[in-house]
């Protein structure tokens, strides 16, 4: 994992996408996240909005955009659930910020790096969710770290497949 100068990487490898991609891909992720559990039943060990947040944050390498993307995705997720709006929002906001911050310093084109980053950020997102629920809001929450680990692995596997596909959608200027 080669560490490069931040300015150099930002200048050379900022991924840019058409506006349609910025709109449709997160929307598709939200829709699929809402619909796929009907198909796969209880084996919904993935979080597509989080994967998309990480991808765009890593690709754009802009903490603000990553923060906004994470906040939007999290708030949408919360809005579609019966939970308080903002729990996922906070978690994914921080994750988006962190992913963009890491993407500035690390070569994120490597598959192994992507897997590890997605795995780690997924677990961190779960930890944030638990932190907001239990410590910030003092809400009773059922929790299983095994489920969170499986979800993180699922997100990493999805990232392995999805990231190269999304890379094809970026615009080359």
């Amino acid at each position: 994992m080669a560490l490069l100068g931040a300015d150099l990487r930002r200048d050379l490898e900022i991924h840019r996408y058409p506006l349609l991609v910025y709109t449709l891909v997160p929307l598709t992720a939200l829709v699929l996240q809402a619909w796929l559990p009907r198909v796969v039943g209880r084996y919904d060990w993935f979080d597509l909005p989080l994967v998309i947040t990480i991808y765009f944050a890593l690709g754009r390498r802009s903490p603000i955009q990553g923060t906004l993307m994470g906040a939007a995705m999290g708030l949408f997720e919360d809005a579609l659930s019966h939970n308080a709006i903002g729990i996922n929002g906070i978690a994914k906001t921080v994750v988006g910020f962190l992913a963009a911050s890491v993407g500035i310093r690390i070569d994120v084109e490597n598959t192994t790096v992507r897997i590890l980053l997605t795995l780690g950020l997924s677990l961190f997102s779960s930890a944030l969710y638990l932190f907001v629920n239990r410590f910030l809001l003092d809400l009773a929450t059922e929790w299983s770290w095994l489920t969170e680990l499986l979800r993180a692995v699922g997100n990493a596997l999805i990232a392995v497949v999805l990231f190269p596909l999304l890379d094809r959608l970026q615009s080359r200027d």
Partner: protein
Amino acid sequence: MESLLERYRNLVVLLAILVAQIVGLAVQVRRTSAGVNTLDSSDASGVRLIRLWANTVVSPPERLIHSGFGLFAGAWTNYIDLRHVRAQNRDLKQTVDRLRLEEAALLEDARQGQRLEALLGFQEKYIYTTVAAQVYGTSGSDRSHVFYIDKGARDGLKPDMAVITPDGIVGKVRDVFSHTAQVLAVNDTSSGAGVILESTRIRGILRGDVSGRLEVVGILADERIHPGEKVLTAGGDLIFPRGLPVGVVEKVVRDPDRDAFIDVMVRPAAHLERLDEVLVITSTEPRFSPQQQQDLSVSAAEEESVPAAVKDQMKASEIMAEKLPGLIDPNLAPDQQPLHDSSNPNPVVQPPQPLHPDRFSPGSAPDDVPEPDAGSPPDAQPRKPSALPSANGGSTLPGSNSTPEATPQRNL
């Protein structure tokens, strides 16, 4: 200040967004009287609005995907996934055909095994020496009822040996080759066998007619022959041993050539049209098992103990029973035959009792005429009023003629 915000712009944006969300969460959570934080069961208007927007954005494409998935699943299930069905159907048909052939072969093997088992059981119990043979061919003509078996001279077969099955007689060996033999079936027109009807003991000659049916010819018209009567070999033709089943009487028809004769149509006991395994009687010398030999010795010893006169009487009785078929009722069991009836054939028949007995009634005369007393005069005997006037004007006792002893005493 401006440069500080510019320098930490990312963190500022992050903190701003986080603070906004935390404030929003704080609005949604309330503390209960028990001191426990919980979410409001009913959303605030602002929260409801956010949920409505999210639902409005996500629901249409979600429903579209759901419908599309349903269409795709239906298309996949009903069309795309069936693209190999034709080949699978062809393979399955071939498999079914193959399994049918295997099933038929197994069924045939099982049937052959059952037939051979029955044949072997019969062969072991049969008193004469036999050779089992497999029928493998026919003449190919319906005018020649012959078939070929896979045993020949090397197996001890000779011409005119009887061919039978456990069900009944089949035919006789006609030509013998080294490994095969030709058998003339009993339903051939040139065949012939001496037979006897089981209950009526009527003898005749069995042969086949032009259509391959069995008939017994040379029998005088006899009303006692009925359908269902068993036909057995008579043993007089020196081919078939006596007592082998031939078939049952199917019907009786008048002989078209000879008025006084009839033809007895016989349904063969053996399946002459579907022969697979047969037995050839190679020797008519009885062979007995040790148990049978022991029984025979015991029987012989008992027979010697019977007086000669009794034996002659029993032999005469058997001959008489055979010559007088009327003594044998086919509808009765062997132990209930009239032949074995030891009761008096002319029992004493008592006359019926009269409704109004009088002196003429049988058995009343001795009571009406009492013994005469020695000291009493003849006129002292009691008289009954005369029923019939006598020729001399007097009355006559009705029983005078029947009691001759009484009249002289009265006249005296």
